[in-house]
């Protein structure tokens, strides 16, 4: 058994006087301070752009790269004819631990498709982003790769996505307050969908 007794630092007399350690601490904080200040100034002057002055990602102007596996808002994938690939097998509705998926299947005119979802709602207000729906989908019909992160809403209803929004991530319902109406758009991308899949692929390292 390899145990290692942790050594409690014996403070020297000097250290017991507080001041040397305060000095040490200040050294670290000052180092950060001046490094960052210097870099900020350098950035203003257009220099040293490759070094980050602060590690802050200035959302929404600057998006932190999402990892490729990151599970973000769902979307339904489409066939070539712009109909959803989903056949309404309801495995996702079954497996969903939060029961946030509601599917009503209907009969598709094409006998080789047979079934399609008349209604496909995901209540983001309940969804726990476990990704089980993607994992069990036997048709590759649902994915969680939109990278959409601006999901806050003013009401419970606004968090519920219907099939149209799921099929077309660019389609965003105007955000409605109880009595106020105004479109909330993300200023960076001019109201477009943020971080489309292509965008993510590029930014992900």
């Amino acid at each position: 058994m390899a145990t290692k007794v942790v050594r409690r630092p014996e403070l020297t007399f000097w250290e017991k006087l507080y001041l040397p350690q305060i000095y040490c601490g200040l050294k670290i904080t000052f180092r950060h301070f001046f490094k960052n200040l210097g870099l900020h100034i350098a950035h203003r002057l257009g220099r040293l752009k490759h070094l980050r002055a602060s590690i802050t990602y200035q959302y929404p102007e600057e998006l932190r790269p999402l990892m490729s596996r990151y599970r973000s808002r769902h979307r339904l994938t489409l066939r070539d004819d712009k109909t959803p690939r989903c056949v309404g097998c309801m495995l996702c509705e079954t497996v969903c631990p939060a029961k946030c998926i509601t599917i009503v299947p209907g009969e598709h005119p094409d006998p080789h498709v047979e079934k399609y979802p008349i209604r496909f709602d995901i209540d983001l207000g309940i969804c726990v982003y476990c990704g089980y729906c993607v994992e069990v989908c036997p048709e590759d019909a649902i994915r969680m790769d939109t990278g959409i992160l601006d999901l806050a809403a003013y009401s419970r209803e606004a968090m519920r996505l219907d099939i149209h929004e799921l099929m077309d991530p660019e389609l965003r319902k105007p955000v409605n307050d109880c009595s106020l109406t105004f479109p909330h758009t993300c200023k960076v991308h001019g109201g477009d969908m943020k971080g489309s899949w292509d965008g993510i692929a590029k930014t992900a390292d």
Partner: protein
């Protein structure tokens, strides 16, 4: 009587039976697709392979007759390898339809694959395409691709209904199931082929895409479509109202009962239960407006007390024995009313198999209770009395007077009496005429017993709670009795049944436990009508 050993256990079975039957008696399950206890043996699916000692090859259990001293192994690597190979073969051309197939969840291909299949797929060829979504008749849909050609449906139509619509056409991997040209699968038992189909080839049109089977809950109950009393399983879904158009009851499957219906169920009974979720009465309606149960029962009981014995009650053979008993006690014995469950109904269609002309499930029970049959008063008499002004109060359980006696007479009766109470499940013209409308629970929403035309006492299972504000008739009767100040010391159908068995010789000695899920014959021979 040959004696044989299956998996190390000895059993003696009747001469001529097959190994699969012997194994079944031992409780050993041998997988099967084509074999069905109710049908002749075809032996073409070959999934039921077993190993018999001293036999060179694996045998099919369904068509190997038992022999004296046979030693059979239904498990083991050899057997499972064989079965696995059969399964792989059966699945070779099977389409990837689980997502759209209504059978998934109760499909024996799925079950057996995870039971002993578990092989890595090797099939790399083009699958043969056949017709999908072929409408065979009003109730059944065929998908030829999914069919494994077990021929159960062919045998069913040949042997049970003797209509012979099905056939298997072509040869080799082009072989496909179908019905003969210009034929329609519309016999009275057509949907049974869906039940016996081990895969998703035959599916119900009524159930198509309504829900997934794994969402369904099930309760064993009895069909109330006719007096035969076929045993059924009621499949329902409660927690997903977006499915099945919000209806709770999803489908009905026959339940095996050797004494009543064996494996089968007629289409009429199977599809005759839509009323459970449609056009139901949901609230108590008073003379002018909706009311509460308490108000309704109070005012009704006051009115009944005032009417003295001038009360007519048209009970119904749709009621359970317990309720009929209470009707008799509360109205007949308690208030001295005229009570009858004998209504002049037109007999329906019938055949010599499962469909009976008497469409009431409990006529036999009503007769035993003395509310119908010989010597019982007649409902038409009550209505006549009401029209003649001899009655002050009329209580109708479920029946539609207009349909039975004509609209004119119904209206007349309603006008003459000062109190017309209708208690039933669904909206009908009589409900519109009634002063008080009391919504009652449908039969799957309550517990109780029926007596079939064969004198079989069967319990109807409680599946789900009564819809909205409706109440079970027995509860309503108990509460009414309380209001009438003749309370019973009874709380539940069990108690009522106990009281009933004490009062009626025909039921003597029965309890819910002895009835079980399969029912029992009546205690006295004479009781059977």
């Amino acid at each position: 009587m040959p004696k044989l050993t299956i998996d190390g256990r000895e059993i003696e079975v009747a001469q001529g039976s097959t190994v699969i039957q012997a194994a079944e008696q031992l409780g050993i399950f041998v997988p099967r697709y084509c074999y069905h206890s109710g049908l002749s043996i075809a032996g073409n699916c070959r999934i039921c392979l077993i190993e018999v000692e001293k036999f060179p090859k694996l045998q099919i259990a369904c068509n190997t007759p038992v022999g004296e001293g046979m030693v059979v192994h239904t498990k083991g690597d050899n057997v499972e390898d064989g079965r696995r190979a059969v399964l792989e073969f059966l699945l070779a051309n099977h389409p990837l339809d689980c997502p759209v197939c209504d059978q998934s969840g109760e499909c024996d291909l799925q079950n057996f694959y995870l039971n002993f299949g578990l092989y890595d797929p090797r099939f790399r060829e083009h699958k043969v395409k056949k017709n999908k979504a072929v409408e065979l008749g009003p109730h059944v849909m065929l998908d030829q691709e999914r069919c494994i050609l077990c021929s159960r449906c062919v045998r069913f139509t040949d042997e049970i209904t003797k209509t012979g619509e099905f056939g298997i056409f072509n040869r080799g991997d082009k072989a496909e199931l179908g019905i003969y040209p210009d034929d329609v699968l519309d016999n009275a038992y057509s949907a049974n082929v869906v039940d016996i189909c081990p895969v998703g080839a035959l599916t119900e049109r009524d159930f198509r895409f309504k829900a997934r089977v794994w969402y369904l809950s099930s309760t064993p109950t009895v069909c109330n479509g006719c007096s035969k009393g076929c045993n059924i399983d009621m499949h329902y879904v409660l927690d997903r109202p977006h499915l099945n158009d919000g209806a709770r009851m999803v489908r009905v499957k026959p339940r095996y009962n050797a004494n009543v219906n064996e494996w089968w169920l007629c289409d009429e009974g199977r599809y005759g239960l839509g009323w459970i979720d449609k056009d139901r009465l949901t609230s108590v309606r008073g003379p002018s407006a909706d009311a509460t149960w308490d108000d309704a029962l109070s005012s009704i009981s006051i009115a009944l007390k005032q009417s003295g014995a001038r009360i007519g009650v048209i009970a119904s053979a749709q009621l359970t024995n317990e309720e009929l008993f209470l009707v008799r006690q509360v109205f007949g014995k308690g208030l001295g009313a005229q009570v009858s469950a004998a209504v002049p109904e037109q007999p329906g269609t019938s055949d010599d198999f499962l469909i009976k002309a008497d469409k009431n499930p409990n006529t036999a029970g009503a007769t035993l209770m003395g509310l119908a049959g010989d010597g019982a008063s007649d409902a038409s008499q009550i209505v006549d009395d009401a029209c003649a002004g001899k009655l002050d109060a009329l209580w109708v359980f479920g029946h539609d007077l207009a349909a039975l006696f004509g609209e004119e007479k119904a209206r007349q009766a309603a006008d003459k009496v000062s109190l017309l109470v209708y208690s039933g499940t669904n909206e009908n013209p009589t409900a519109a005429l009634a002063h008080w409308v009391l919504p009652s629970a449908a039969y799957v929403e309550k517990d109780g017993t029926f007596v079939s035309c064969d004198g079989h006492v069967q319990r109807i299972g409680f599946a789900f709670a009564p819809l909205a504000d409706s109440r079970e008739d027995w509860r309503l009767l108990l509460q009414l009795a309380e209001k009438l100040e003749q309370p019973f010391e009874l709380r539940a159908p069990q108690d009522i049944f106990k009281a009933l068995t004490e009062a009626e010789a025909a039921f003597a000695g029965l309890t819910y436990a002895t009835i079980g899920t399969h029912g029992v014959g009546l205690a006295t021979e004479a009781a059977a009508p």
